[in-house]
Symmetry: C2
Subunit: 495 residues, 2 copies
């Protein structure tokens, strides 16, 4: 969930100076357009980690747009008036009318999130609240309220640095409040709870947008653009004569050019000799682990995704070499069969789930929905937007039933892919592996990149995390994959 | 929730003999049309009280339609195969492909419902499951699966009669299984849990349909028609070029002519003298109850709905006579103001919620959404269909915050309304109370009747029940209203 937001996105002052005037003009024009048409209201939720720049960003939005038509509400402890009504009353009071923008600081999410992170309520109670919020927000969306939900994020290190800097300076020491320290001390628990909350309440019509809060220029531009695109998409929708309801939200790319994929150093060193020794050791450990008694109560689901020729097949073979043939199935996923097409898209994966003590290896997977189907337009934006939540639900069910879900994105550079394509064309026994489709897909590389990043941000979870594999060097990639699997299995048998 | 289903609906054998051949022909034709077009799959969920005719009805559906294209799955204890996969796996396995109809007996609802009714899981855990099911079903609907959810109901008396009859006959005694008796012994708890489950999982795209199971002819026709209309609505939707997704489900009127409203004896006896004595006594009790210390932690929300001239105003005055003017607000609801129109429809009710220790009296209410807005077409079918769940959520929040919600439908006959309209036109001081709109609304009476019955079935809950008031005799009506309020308040102060 927070992968992209922990990359340390940055915009230089010069870049910012170039972007800002254009962005604020567009925002202001769009705001006035909304005010004029009065087709819907916009509600901006501001949540996140203390010190990630929430206040500064709200001030900026007020500066960029006409503040007379923005209503900012900050919620702290409820007043007497508020405490005497149901929980949501104070938020209903703060709803802006159609045509206006409301900014709600510390809204309905704050209290249950804090309560759970600090152990004051149980998980089931939190989930009950979240399902109330989902129903509430679905109702708002159906009634023509556009909800833009921002989570301002800071990594553990980022927060540490910030608190240290503030404390070191006597002039700013007062800004480090006790509750900041409390959140910091509980950072991991708070982050894990936030991840669960965000995942459970991200919907196609109102997804969470995670903002890397570490750089002021970057976060300002990212928030501004996200808001702009949401408003524009809805205005456009209405202009076409549709009702301004349940429109799926466009995702906005990073404002700098830094992504999860290009932040990877793809060509990691690894010599064949060292590789072979380590591979055998890892295969041995894997084989042993999977034969332990504890594993009979578990199952293992491996997912391999990556661009063509990224080395999925080779890596899978290095895994299966360690396994008893009766124990695993490799499930190659291509275009669905007729029978599969007559069912919901997850059906073909449900039917291949392994029994206890078994391993299912998916060579491509249900992530096709948010990769190839998104890129090729085989499904609508609303379809793949809702797929993130559906896939998270699906994997939650696997994990809560005891399955281990390990997911790999094998990342290669475009150059390396080209080299491998050519090598395949030259070697007769590999020629079957290269088709015109592969060349066609290669041209869509720029469309796959954001799809991959969105996929990882929206479906990498505590329970079923993605592992990004630097795959220009096959040996390195295979070892990283084997090691990740071995460690996951061993850890689960200890627990 | 179960109001209509406990009326004791009936169809005579002669009526059945007339309806059945037409209905089965239409069902068969519609089934073949679906099979031909393959636009969506239909999944029929069969749940309910033992002995309410589930098995018999499924057999009948198989007889009426082509059984080769119906897949019936009955779920009992999970098999080994099933237990080794996540909970939903066995239901995924049973999904029919597009073009076909699947009938699922004892499906995902059975286990959590039973677990909760017999105290094996907590409320929060049940709600967690229900929100999983809501997400699962929303996904199915978005993927083009039409879900038709039937709850076969029997009243407590109905179940008692059935078990007695079976036990009395040595030839059928074997049919009374131990689990039947268990459900019967826990009938009230089971019914309350079922109500909660059904309410929480009724959505605009997949609402529960409650079947009065007491009469075999009636339930067969009702189930057949409901299925027919759902399938036809979806096929029609696709014919118009839309995707077969998230279509809101049409509600089907009772197959006999018996409704909640016409089952009432509207003209109840009550003389003025007796009325006045009782009224004063009740007003005294109400006044005392609302001044008790316990009420300072409560609030009271009264809802009055009814056709024009049903006596809402008069009844409200008899309530307010008992109250301190500082303690209550009467909130007359007419067409929304501009400010209100710029907000979600529930907004204007949220803003009028009473503080603790206060009384809010709504003369017409949020139920306008499913009454006048439905009848006059001020909102779409999808809008008022989702309103039932939204209103239930709204009232849940009130009740769980300590408010008492008491709702009255004042029911008068068309004749009595006419008499009152004429009397108003004749009495100068009452003439302001009658407008051309009133005459226009009167013509829509036949449209209001089903709207009222659906409203009561879908929003009468344990926490916020509807009271139907026989209102042809004003004295009787006012006393029933006062008594209901007094008893509700007194009960809450005892608890």
């Amino acid at each position: 969930m927070f992968e992209s937001a922990e990359l340390g996105h940055k915009l230089s002052k010069a870049e910012y100076a170039e972007i800002e005037p254009v962005l604020r003009t567009e925002l202001l024009e769009t705001q006035l357009d909304l005010l004029d048409k009065k087709d819907f209201a916009a509600v901006v939720l501001i949540n996140g980690i203390d010190g990630a720049g929430r206040g500064e960003t709200v001030n900026l939005l007020n500066e960029w747009m006409d503040p007379r038509h923005i209503e900012v509400h900050a919620f702290d402890r409820p007043t007497d008036e508020e405490r005497e009504r149901p929980f949501l009353w104070r938020f209903w009071r703060a709803l802006p009318p159609r045509g206006k923008i409301g900014i709600l600081f510390n809204n309905w999410y704050s209290e249950p999130l804090g309560d759970r992170a600090f152990g004051r309520i149980k998980k089931a109670r939190l989930d009950q609240r979240l399902s109330e919020f989902n129903r509430f927000e679905a109702m708002l969306a159906a009634e023509g309220v556009v909800l833009v939900k921002f989570w301002f994020h800071l990594s553990r290190d980022g927060q540490k640095k910030r608190l240290k800097a503030l404390e070191a300076n006597p002039a700013t020491r007062w800004r480090v409040r006790a509750s900041d320290r409390l959140v910091y001390d509980h950072y991991d628990r708070y982050r894990a709870t936030a991840e669960h909350v965000l995942r459970r309440t991200s919907t196609a019509h109102s997804p969470w947008v995670i903002v890397d809060g570490s750089d002021p220029q970057y976060r300002a531009v990212f928030v501004g653009r996200t808001l702009l695109h949401r408003l524009q998409a809805h205005l456009e929708h209405v202009r076409k004569g549709y009702r301004a309801r349940l429109v799926s939200a466009p995702l906005v790319a990073a404002a700098d050019r830094r992504t999860l994929l290009n932040a990877l150093a793809l060509d990691q060193p690894m010599e064949r000799k060292a590789y072979e020794a380590q591979r055998e050791a890892l295969q041995g450990r894997l084989s042993l682990a999977l034969r332990r008694r504890g594993f009979t109560q578990r199952s293992l689901v491996l997912v391999f995704e990556g661009m063509d020729a990224a080395g999925k097949g080779g890596a899978i073979r290095r895994v299966t070499q360690a396994l008893d043939t009766r124990q695993y199935h490799v499930i190659p996923i291509a275009a669905p069969s007729d029978e599969e097409r007559a069912q919901p898209y997850l059906w073909r994966f449900w039917r291949r789930l392994p029994r206890r003590g078994r391993v299912a290896i998916f060579d491509r997977s249900w992530y096709g929905r948010v990769l190839v189907e998104r890129v090729e337009g085989f499904c609508t934006e609303a379809d793949w937007m809702r797929a993130y939540a559906e896939i998270n639900d699906f994997e939650d069910q696997l994990v809560s039933h005891g399955a281990l879900v390990v997911k790999f994105w094998l990342s290669i550079s475009a150059d390396e892919q080209l080299r491998r394509f050519k090598a395949r064309e030259e070697a007769a026994f590999k020629r079957y592996k290269i088709t015109p489709d592969d060349w066609r897909n290669r041209e869509k590389w720029p469309l796959y990149e954001p799809a991959v990043c969105d996929m990882i941000d929206r479906t990498s979870t505590e329970n079923a995390p993605w592992t990004l594999v630097e795959a220009d060097n096959k040996y390195f990639a295979r070892l990283k994959i084997l090691r990740t699997i071995v460690e996951t299995v061993e850890r689960s048998l200890k627990a």
